[in-house]
């Protein structure tokens, strides 16, 4: 623990994740969380945050709630995780209740579907932006770049299943990063 920063309040933590959760359409939530936690508030550094992004995607469960668990845990321990996840799910839960009662009237209107698809595309763009930044910061030497390309091709292009790919990629990538990691930590 670094401990130089003042503790993040539970209500601030809840509010951040509430708004992210309420407007989480079409996936690209990880960059939004990064923006709020790292870029705007400086609660975490990018080096602390990016491993969370990897873990959130590798572990079972929804990426965004997993990342909320990781961030909450880092900032305020177990209660922080609970607050972050509940914040993340409050909005969707309430909208879900409204939708379950009223869906016959709204769903299927093509104008609304077009708007939703457009918002989703905007969210994918945020994800692309985050990907480019992650590629930049992870490009420490040829080995890391090769691992990055291999993971992208295997999961994205070839559509191999995630688990076997990361089970191979993690030991290889960590072994390649070992000398530098030991030096940086020492």
């Amino acid at each position: 623990m670094s401990g130089e920063q003042p503790r993040v309040g539970f209500s601030a933590l809840y509010r951040v994740f509430f708004w992210i959760g309420l407007f989480s359409f079409g996936g690209g939530l990880l960059p939004w969380i990064q923006r709020e936690i790292v870029t705007l508030r400086g609660w975490m550094k990018d080096e602390e945050f990016l491993p969370g992004v990897a873990l959130a995607q590798i572990l079972p469960g929804v990426n965004s709630t997993n990342l909320a668990v990781f961030v909450g845990q880092r900032l305020r321990g177990a209660p922080g995780s609970v607050v972050a996840v509940i914040g993340m799910l409050t909005g969707p839960f309430l909208v879900m209740l409204v939708a379950a009662v009223t869906y016959q009237y709204v769903l299927g209107a093509p104008a609304i579907q077009a708007a939703m698809a457009g918002a989703a595309a905007g969210a994918i763009g945020m994800m692309l932006n985050m990907g480019v930044a992650a590629v930049r910061s992870a490009s420490r030497g040829v080995a890391a770049i090769l691992v990055m390309i291999a993971v992208f091709v295997a999961v994205g292009v070839m559509r191999w299943s995630l688990i076997p790919v990361v089970l191979v990629a993690i030991p290889v990538s960590v072994a390649l990063a070992w000398p530098r990691g030991a030096r940086d930590a020492g």
Binding site: V69, L128, N129, V166
Partner: protein, 178 residues
Amino acid sequence: MRDDPLLGLIVVLAPLSIASIGGASAIYAPLQYEAVEVRHWVTGAQCLDLFAISRFIPGPSSILGALIGFNIAGLLGALVAMVALYLPSSALCYAVGAVWDRHRGKPWHTALEQGLAPIAAGLIMAGVLSLYRISGGDMLTGAVILGSAGALAWKRKLHPFILLAGGAIAFELAWLVR
């Protein structure tokens, strides 16, 4: 076995929470099978309707499980389903994160951190590609993705609402002139 719907929701959804590896889409097939064929909570047509809603509202698409819970047991059913869906996977993530945090600063931790970074980057880019494919993979979608990414590169603190609204407006205009 199927007298108590709340217990049934937990029995069906909690294992799926841990099984949803690589996102919520992994659980659609087993969830639909359990809800429609095995337990007759909803008809096939209802299930499809609820699926459409789950894509349409904010939040993870596995919230479909909570919609089914609401359908069979009202508000309490929805709440029980939420807990069953997200508590097991969150607890696992917490356990891993706690171990991760305890070893901060040790050489192997730094090596793991640096080793995970390129994997995270590769996975994010793979995610972009697969989301692009799912969204139809047409020119307009590609243009909005690039425009949104470019706008964010230009102004890093740009609010996400602007990007989402921009995408929605572009699609709305395209839908009007079509």
